[in-house]
Symmetry: C2
Subunit: 416 residues, 2 copies
């Protein structure tokens, strides 16, 4: 194990008790100051970002990724506002969620506490640095951030500024730390830092998440990939179905809550697909359709097995005609990544069966999957969208960054 990761882990663990016991005003004061320090350092951040942008061709980074990497004064302002929004959220730490008495007269309460030390491995977007750091800090956790090499200078400068703020508030700078070595070797060591990390959250491509899943012995919250579907039932309002499919596919195809495949009940295929074809064309969406559906799309291509498995994250939609609700549910449970799934129907029974039987973090009736989001759900924040079943499932707000402990008040009880 490299000294780097062990040192970061030890330093975090050393201050984690202090962090977990900070009062809400202490945390909020520091968060507001972080926003202020960011605003006071715009030229410094832009200069660091410029160094990353200059290196981008060397790393063979695609233009869409360069857009994610690029910071502007406006984007830095958004980061500062984001931190202020986190300061404004209700602090879950310290809340005793329930309290009860046992027959022996013990009073037991379940109290919300910080997790301890959180590792975040992420790619490209430097705004994850301030997002993740502020959410972890608000919940009394230490965070160790490991960004990609392509945003190295931006991330490091942002963490420097956050640490300067902590010191200015008489708080330990080890609350927010940065992994200054972006090698795969050190990332793998971070994934196995079981003595110091309470949880590891990867944020990025499917490739990153799969690598973490296969390598990490630290507890992981798997986030992100969404191979999502809309099923257009035989009892669907077809106008509504067109709107939902277009929204879920084309409003922002690059995000994890967009859809990749639609399943259309055979009874409505003949009415629905021509309506949809017009709108898909308007939105420049490429169609990969099965043998039944292909006839409605003059420039569509025939779908292959790979299409059902792929998270395109692009203006591409796979289309399959199914003969029953069961066939739709089976297709979804076989190919989906347990993220977000929707049915469009006016059948009460179909809606209930879909809600019960589809296995996903968020299951919708008559709405776009694009709502799977911590802000849209009303959590006021989002550290990611969990696609696993342990600890947290679906959009994760502050609560997902906490644990609990039992506090027990007795008056001399011993066990018989």
């Amino acid at each position: 194990m490299s000294n780097l990761m062990t040192n970061l882990g030890q330093a975090a663990q050393k201050v984690s008790r202090q962090l977990g016991n900070l009062s809400t005003p202490e945390k909020n004061t520091a968060l507001l100051k972080m926003a202020e320090f960011l605003r006071n350092n715009v030229p410094r951040i832009l200069a660091a970002n410029q160094k990353d942008l200059e290196k981008a061709p060397e790393y063979g980074i695609r233009p869409t990724m360069i857009d994610r990497l690029k910071l502007t004064a406006e984007r830095i302002e958004d980061m500062a506002i984001g931190i202020e929004q986190v300061a404004a959220l209700t602090d879950p730490i310290g809340e005793v969620e329930k309290m009860w008495q046992t027959p022996e007269g013990l009073t037991i309460g379940q109290k919300r506490v910080a997790l301890g030390v959180i590792g975040i491995i992420f790619e490209s977007r430097p705004n994850v640095t301030t997002d993740a750091a502020s959410l972890c800090f608000k919940t009394g956790n230490c965070v160790i951030l490991r960004g990609g090499k392509e945003a190295f200078y931006s991330n490091q400068t942002l963490v420097d500024i956050l640490q300067e703020t902590l010191l200015a508030c008489d708080l330990p700078k080890e609350a927010i730390q940065f992994v200054s070595d972006t090698s795969h070797e050190v990332a793998n060591q971070m994934m196995q830092l079981t003595d110091y990390l309470d949880v590891l959250i990867p944020r990025g491509s499917d490739r990153l998440i799969q690598r973490v899943k296969q390598t990490a012995t630290v507890p992981v919250i798997e986030t992100g990939t969404g191979n999502n579907h809309v099923y257009v039932d035989h009892a669907a309002d077809l106008e509504m179905a067109v709107q939902i499919v277009i929204n879920a596919k084309a409003q922002r195809p690059s995000v994890c809550n967009a859809i990749e495949t639609i399943l259309v009940h055979t009874e409505v295929a003949d009415d629905f697909l021509p309506l949809l074809a017009v709108e898909l064309k308007k939105n420049a969406v490429e169609v990969h359709a099965d043998e039944t559906a292909i006839q409605y799309f003059s420039d569509g291509q025939l779908a292959t097995e790979a299409d059902w498995q792929t998270e395109f994250l692009d203006y591409i939609l796979a289309i399959r005609v199914v003969s029953s609700l069961d066939e739709a549910i089976n297709h979804i449970n076989h190919y989906n990544t347990k993220h977000s799934e929707a049915i469009v129907t006016d059948s009460y029974q179909a809606s209930q069966r879909f809600l019960n039987e589809v296995d996903a973090a968020a299951v919708y009736v008559n709405a776009s999957t694009r709502f799977t989001d911590g802000f849209m759900f009303g959590f006021g924040a989002e550290i990611g969208i969990s696609t696993q079943k342990l600890h947290a499932r679906g959009p994760m707000g502050l609560l997902a960054l906490t644990s609990s402990k039992y506090i027990i008040y007795g008056n001399g009880q011993i066990r018989e």
Copy 2:
């Protein structure tokens, strides 16, 4: 990857949707039948257990472990009663815990669902087979059980009987499966079966748990080891302190919620330790004391660094005199395994600081640590005691074996 583990994983996954959607009466009927089938098969179970007992010397199993391994008609009856108690518990599956409306008019509910497929790796005690299987079944989960080689025939026969019950109830026998190869190699494969297992719960020795923690890429719930403390404050009721220490140490030393070390405030050492010495002697507890405390124990031995780190699980108590509450809290947070910790005090401030600052799943004021137990806490069941912070912390009842999903009712909402 061996075919064995992949086959078990695939078979479980195939039936897991059916399991998750069983109604409460369907599950309870099957559970009651399992108890009945156990009672009808006592001679068959005892015969299998006899085979294990005959092999025990070959595996070099200690007498205390042989007692854990041995089944009797009475112990089998206890297993049957245990299953009936699980049948009587409230079923958490299907409950919608909260439901709210968003500004866009979506109605979002958080519904309790099964985790899916649970792996259990355990040692020695065959009763874990029926305990774990019944709790997983009650919560709509498939379970794959991997017991130790020392209880192979007992475990296999118990699973055979549970599977016969499932078939008699027209339910898939793949809901409860047994790993028939007890090699380390296959256990390691189970720990990495990320495609099929939603969670892995180890139950057994610290060695087993450490191995799982270091090897598993499947999400793990760490259970068990308890290096626990009682701190006797300067403001303690000393009679109460003696009773609590004796109970926590000597009532049942082999369990994880017993204590291993006590910390005594220097101001009360002179009054407290002689009182304690008498009672420890009565209970045949060996003392490993620091240089200050050793004078009160004529046949005590001097404590070493190793004593503070050791979970004795035996009639041995380490004793250290501390000069302040801070020193006690620092000792505990440094050496403990985050399980159960207690303070004896009449100081309000000391009690509050101890509850807030000690990092453990269960923190007690004026009570024995022996109450850390799902039954004592009122959960009606226990699958283990989690010493990690993710997903579940402390005694785990049925709720720890569940996940949630968001169900969303819309009427055509799309995202702007």
